[in-house]
C-alpha cells in the first residue's frame, strides 16, 4: 500500500509551479488530491491532467483571502472525499521593491494571501482534523522569512509570520494529533524566480553551498515527508530546503 493511500490532501496554489509539483508528488504516494488556486481555468486544467495520471482529483478553485470561499472549499472537500487529512499552504504572491518605494497596498496584498490565507485554511481544516484526531499541516514559508532579503520587506515579513503561525498552531493542535510544520525553501528555480535579474540569480548561487538552485521537486519531497507518517513525531519545526544557504 502506498503511504498516503486513503488520505486527502489540499494544496493551495496548486494550479502550477511548486504547488503543482507538491500535488503530483502527494498523488504519486496515493493521496486524493484537491487542486485549488485562484486561477479557476488553470485549476480545472491541472486537475484534469493529474486525473489522467491516475490520481483521484478534485478541482476546487478558491481565493484563500476570502473566508466564505475557504469555508465552502473545506465543505466541498469533505463532501467529495469524506475527509481532509493533509493541508499544504502553498499559495503565495510577491510584490517586490525597495522599502522606500513600497506601498501600503502591496504590503496588504502580500499579507492577505500569504498570511491571512493560511490562517483561514488552517482554521477551516483544523475543524475537520480535530474531529478525526489526525492531521498534517504544512506551511510553505521561505528562507527569506528567516534571513531577510533586500527588496522583500512585505514577503519576508509574511513568511516570518507564517513561522509564528506554524509554531502557535502546532502547540494548540498537538493534543489532537495534528502536526503543523513549515518548510523554508531557498532559491528555487520557478516562474516566480525566473523574472529575477541575472545579477540577483548569480548572487543567490554564490551563497548556496550545494551550488545549484533548488527544484520544485526538492520542495515537494520535503512536503511529502512532513505529510507522511514518517514525520509523526515532528511538529512546530521549520525545515529548510535551501542547499545550505542559511545555517
Amino acid at each position: 500500500m502506498k503511504p498516503l493511500e486513503g488520505k486527502t490532501a489540499l494544496v493551495t496554489g496548486s494550479a502550477r509551479g511548486i504547488g503543482r509539483a507538491i500535488a503530483e508528488h502527494l498523488g504519486s504516494l496515493g493521496a486524493n488530491l484537491v487542486i485549488s488556486d485562484v486561477l479557476a481555468e488553470l485549476t480545472d486544467n491541472t486537475a484534469a491532467e493529474l486525473e489522467k495520471l491516475g490520481y483521484k482529483t478534485l478541482s476546487a478553485p478558491c481565493n484563500v483571502v476570502n473566508a466564505d470561499e475557504v469555508n465552502d472549499l473545506i465543505k466541498k472537500i469533505v463532501d467529495h472525499f469524506g475527509s481532509l487529512d493533509i493541508l499544504v499552504n502553498n499559495a503565495g504572491i510577491t510584490r517586490d521593491g525597495l522599502l522606500i518605494r513600497q506601498t501600503p497596498e502591496s504590503w496588504d496584498q502580500v499579507m492577505e494571501v500569504n498570511l491571512k490565507g493560511s490562517f483561514l485554511t488552517i482554521k477551516g481544516a483544523s475543524r475537520v482534523m480535530m474531529k478525526n484526531r489526525y492531521g498534517k499541516i504544512i506551511n510553505i514559508s521561505s528562507v527569506v522569512g528567516l534571513m531577510g532579503n533586500a527588496g522583500q520587506v512585505n514577503y519576508s515579513a509574511s513568511k516570518a509570520g507564517l513561522i509564528g503561525l506554524t509554531k502557535s498552531a502546532a502547540k494548540e493542535l498537538a493534543g489532537r494529533n495534528i502536526t503543523v510544520n513549515a518548510i523554508a525553501p531557498g532559491y528555487i528555480a520557478t516562474k516566480m524566480t525566473e523574472s529575477l535579474p541575472e545579477e540577483a540569480k548569480e548572487a543567490f548561487l554564490s551563497v548556496i553551498p550545494l551550488k545549484r538552485p533548488g527544484s520544485a521537486e526538492d520542495v515537494a519531497a520535503a512536503v511529502a515527508f512532513l505529510a507522511s507518517p514518517a514525520s509523526d513525531y515532528i511538529t512546530g519545526q521549520v525545515l529548510q530546503v535551501d542547499g545550505g544557504m542559511l545555517m
Binding site: R127, M130, K131, E172, G175, R176
Partner: protein
Amino acid sequence: MSVEEKVKEIVMDKLNVTAEQVTPDASFVEDLGADSLDQAELVLALEDEFNLQISDKDSENLKTVGAAIDYITSHTS
C-alpha cells in the same frame, strides 16, 4: 432523541467521560476535565448537531451540561 440525550452523547464522546458523570450540574472544566480546546470543540460539535451559531460570548456561559442543554433548548424549535 431529546436535546438532553443528544447533548449528553456529544459530551461523552468529546470529553471521553461516562454517562454517570454527565449530570446537569457537571462543570465541563472542573468535573469533566475539559481544557479550552475541548470546550471549543464541544461548542463546534453542538453547533453542527443542532444547526446553530453560538457566539463566543454565549459559549463562555456554557459552563455546565445543564447550561448547554438549556441554551440549546431555548435556541432551537
